[in-house]
């Protein structure tokens, strides 16, 4: 591990931000707490995706598959077979990790280019959604309603919105930590090489297959863990939300707008855009049908055109300018 990793861990800004986020449930009204919880879910998803999309440079559109496995499989194991949701979460994560590794193997075996990789991963996501919709065990089209939360932690119940906020915050921090750890480890070095030039990486002896499989599996496991927690938070495993390829598009958008080349891009992207989207819905949703979507879309277009590298690098430049 590079010393920079421990430098970031020692940063007072990081710890202040964590403490500030952790105390939010103590004073935030329930609507805004829900918004913050959603933001954490998407921060986690965006960081998980960033391992493949940002660090390895492969635009994966398969990530709704992993979220779907985490949400639908863990819920189905609980409701159909009575398997504790903690255990279900781990089983689903294992299945997601294996699915991720298989997708990475297919990519390597058939030497897929960027466009083919995006399309193949999208096909995996579509197949995943179709399987969920067509298989009653996983809830089919009507989804799965989870039992009412009674605050029993052993049964994966966190006793209300504050509990879910803290658990999802833990998962988002885990996803951020994994990103930072990979960035500052030999795996990150190899993934950057693969992103820079796969042919050259192979020529210098980087084990491209192993590193790609590892990156995809780690990313899939993280998505799956957050997917399980998200479904439990919503108390409803909705296939049209949690297994839909639209979810991946949202994740890719948030990570990209935040800045895929930056360690804090997914945090900035999801941390800002999810609350903004929710606020726009709150303020403009009832004025004119679709107006909030229009404004949100317009905002995204402006950001993409004005800041093609993403928000985080722009904030970082601003910070440097002011600190100088």
């Amino acid at each position: 591990m590079k010393p920079e990793f421990f430098g970031i861990l020692r940063s007072p800004v990081l710890w202040l931000a964590l403490v500030f986020t952790a105390v939010l449930p103590l004073w935030l009204p329930s609507y805004y707490l829900h918004m913050a919880t959603l933001a954490l879910v998407y921060v986690g998803f965006a960081y998980a995706w960033n391992i493949v999309g940002g660090l390895t440079g492969q635009v994966s559109l398969a990530h709704s598959l992993f979220v779907g496995i985490g949400a639908m499989l863990a819920s189905a194991l609980l409701l159909r077979l009575g398997i504790n949701m903690w255990v279900g979460m781990l089983i689903a994560a294992l299945v997601s990790g294996m699915a991720g590794a298989v997708i990475a193997w297919v990519d390597y075996r058939f030497r897929l280019g960027h466009l083919s990789f995006a399309l193949i991963t999208l096909a995996f996501a579509e197949v995943g959604e179709l399987v969920v919709l067509g298989w009653d065990f996983l809830g089919g089209a009507s989804g799965l309603y989870l039992p009412k939360d009674q605050g029993n932690l052993q049964s994966f119940q966190f006793g209300g919105s504050s509990g879910y906020f803290w658990f999802l915050m833990l998962l988002a921090v885990l996803a951020l930590g994994v990103n930072l750890a990979i960035l500052n480890s030999p795996l990150g070095f190899f993934l950057r090489a693969i992103r820079g030039n796969e042919g050259a990486a192979q020529a210098v002896g980087v084990n491209v297959l192993r590193n790609k499989m590892l990156a995809m599996a780690i990313s899939a496991v993280l998505c799956s863990l957050i997917g399980t927690a998200y479904a439990r938070y919503l108390t409803f495993a909705d296939p049209y939300l949690l297994a839909s390829p639209n979810l991946t598009i949202e994740i890719v958008l948030l990570a990209t707008i935040g800045g895929v080349s930056s360690a804090f891009g997914p945090l900035v992207g999801a941390g800002l855009l999810i609350p903004i989207g929710e606020m726009l819905r709150g303020h403009f949703g009832s004025m004119l049908p679709g107006l909030h979507y229009f404004i949100y879309g317009l905002l995204l277009v402006v950001v993409i055109i004005a800041l093609p590298q993403g928000l985080a690098p722009a904030f970082s430049r601003l910070y440097r300018r002011f600190s100088n």
């Binding site: 030999p186 190899f190 950057r192 030039n197 042919g199 050259a200 020529a203 210098v204 002896g205 084990n207």
Partner: protein, 234 residues
Amino acid sequence: MIEIESLVAGYGQVPVLHDVSLKVAQGELVGLLGANNAGKSTLINCLSGTVRPRQGRIRFKGEDITNLAPHKIVDLGMIQVPEGRLVFPQMSIRDNLMLGGISARARKQRRQRLEQVLETFPRLQERLDQHAGTLSGGEQQMLAIGRGMMAGAEVLMLDEPSLGLSPLFVQYIFETIAKMHRMGLTILLVEQNSSLTFRHASRCYVLEQGRVAIDGPTEVVRNHPATRKAYLGM
């Protein structure tokens, strides 16, 4: 050191190499010549494991490496410097060089080798923390060769090192190749620049449409009527 027997390879349905056999002895500098699409790069890619042959055998120091993964071939000490340099543009020159020394056999001597590379290519020393993408074509070629040196190569397979470089840089790169050869490195040089290859190689192979058309000591290949016609316009 390297023995290729009756190699057949291609991409998808398109055959490129037909029954190619070739040998490189330890300490030799062997030239592999041929026009565009003759199959030179495919042959070198088969040697480095990035293209899987359909038939035939490749042996390195007596060991069959025909279907070995590319990183395992690097571990054995067969290093390819790919055509078009292929550096990592967003990484610093230092990181590019360090990546050259990631194999198990090279890791222990990375620092020493880095010094050697920087001694061989002082221009890289001045720009160690600069992004590789900002280097000129010639400097990128130095970096690509330096990366190969970092791997502690026993055999260096250079794919068109003169491609797209100014005559001055070509001269410099070939002098460096000759120097590495004098230091005992085995080199397989894939080139279109026949005059420079003839000057440095002890033996040559000429590929034509995926087959070995001519092979032998450099003098024999150079004076072969077909070579003179194809390369020297005589």
